[in-house]
């Protein structure tokens, strides 16, 4: 039993990879906070997308490297990605439903 687990563990990243990932996560967090304190940047339409992209990158790095989803069995990826996509879809649909996002139909016609 533990052999099977050890088999998976063999493919886990090394200690140095873990430290590099921590450094990257720290740098991204610093950039996020730095963006927050730039009034000129906050006023632009790029502020929110930039933060969302940086946050998504951090999320993906932790899931892939620290949670080992990059190295583990495909079934685990399915078990996580399926509900995660449903959760994301739920948030987006609710934002439309409650008027937080809007599609300007006049632009489409």
């Amino acid at each position: 039993m533990s052999d099977a687990h050890a088999e998976h563990a063999e493919h886990h990243p090394t200690w140095s990879t873990y430290w590099k990932v921590a450094l990257i996560l720290t740098v991204i967090t610093v950039i996020e906070v730095w963006c927050y304190y730039l009034p000129a940047f906050v006023a632009t339409p790029y502020f929110v997308p930039t933060l969302l992209i940086l946050s998504a990158v951090k999320f993906a790095i932790v899931v892939l490297f620290y949670m080992h989803l990059k190295y583990d069995a495909k079934l685990y990826r399915v078990l996580f990605t399926g509900p995660f996509l449903v959760a994301m879809a739920t948030i987006i649909v609710l934002m439309f439903l409650f008027g937080k996002f809007a599609i300007h139909l006049s632009l489409l016609t």
Binding site: A9, A22, F59
Partner: protein, 220 residues
């Protein structure tokens, strides 16, 4: 890899994967939906509070003329975010130490990296530090006039971050239990699956905070 009936009986499914690890991933999937509902609620109510205090803007109470400053304290929360990220690093080092318990350690660096007790304790301590930051934040909010009943922002904010804090608390208790077992009989490769499951839960708590930090604290 073919799983025999004996394998299944000893905790492995017919997929050849341990059922407890499949279960924790399914649990994490369901937790994604729980936090998605809480985050949605916060975002839907965002900007719809009639009375302050507000997260990013100052507010003057028209009846008392008392000025409430913007409630969120970004420097403090940035520190607590950093603490939680570092706890994830300590967690993976703890798992690696347990998996490599039998590997000979020649240098002091090897012994430090290979000490599961050190890294489990560090993870639990960083988790407790994060909770202390949250307790400080909640207390200061209440002193500044924001409670769970003050306005829509207060209700959705305390519910979301409170649920996350409860998850961190459960994680710290789990870590301390595992640390106690490590002190009592030592954790080795045969325990790696148990530590791995705990690590997955801990990292999930961390990724939820990554989303909360951006959506609630940084986006104005």
């Amino acid at each position: 890899m073919t799983a025999t009936a004996a394998d299944v009986g000893h905790g492995y499914t017919t997929t050849g994967l341990p059922h407890r690890k499949i279960a924790i991933w399914a649990f994490i999937g369901s937790e994604c939906m729980l936090f998605a509902s809480l985050i949605s609620t916060y975002l839907i109510y965002k900007g719809r509070s009639i009375a302050g205090p507000f997260p990013h803007e100052a507010w003057t109470d028209p009846s008392t003329h008392h000025v409430y400053k913007a409630i969120l304290n970004i420097p403090v929360t940035s520190c607590s975010t950093f603490v939680l990220l570092m706890s994830s690093l300590a967690m993976v080092l703890a798992l690696a130490a347990v998996e490599n318990r039998d590997v000979p350690k020649h240098t002091l660096g090897d012994r430090i990296l290979g000490s599961s007790k050190l890294w489990l304790f560090t993870t639990a301590a960083l988790g407790a530090t994060f909770l202390s930051f949250q307790a400080y934040e909640f207390t200061s909010f209440v002193h500044e006039g924001l409670t769970i009943r003050t306005n829509l922002f207060g209700s959705s904010f305390f519910t979301l971050t409170g649920f996350h804090g409860a998850h961190v608390t459960a994680g710290v208790l789990w870590l301390l239990t595992m640390l106690g077992i490590d002190f009592k009989r030592g954790l080795g490769p045969k325990d790696a699956l148990n530590v791995d499951i705990m690590a997955l839960y801990w990292h999930f708590v961390d990724v939820v905070w990554i989303a909360i930090f951006t959506l609630i604290y940084l986006i104005k």
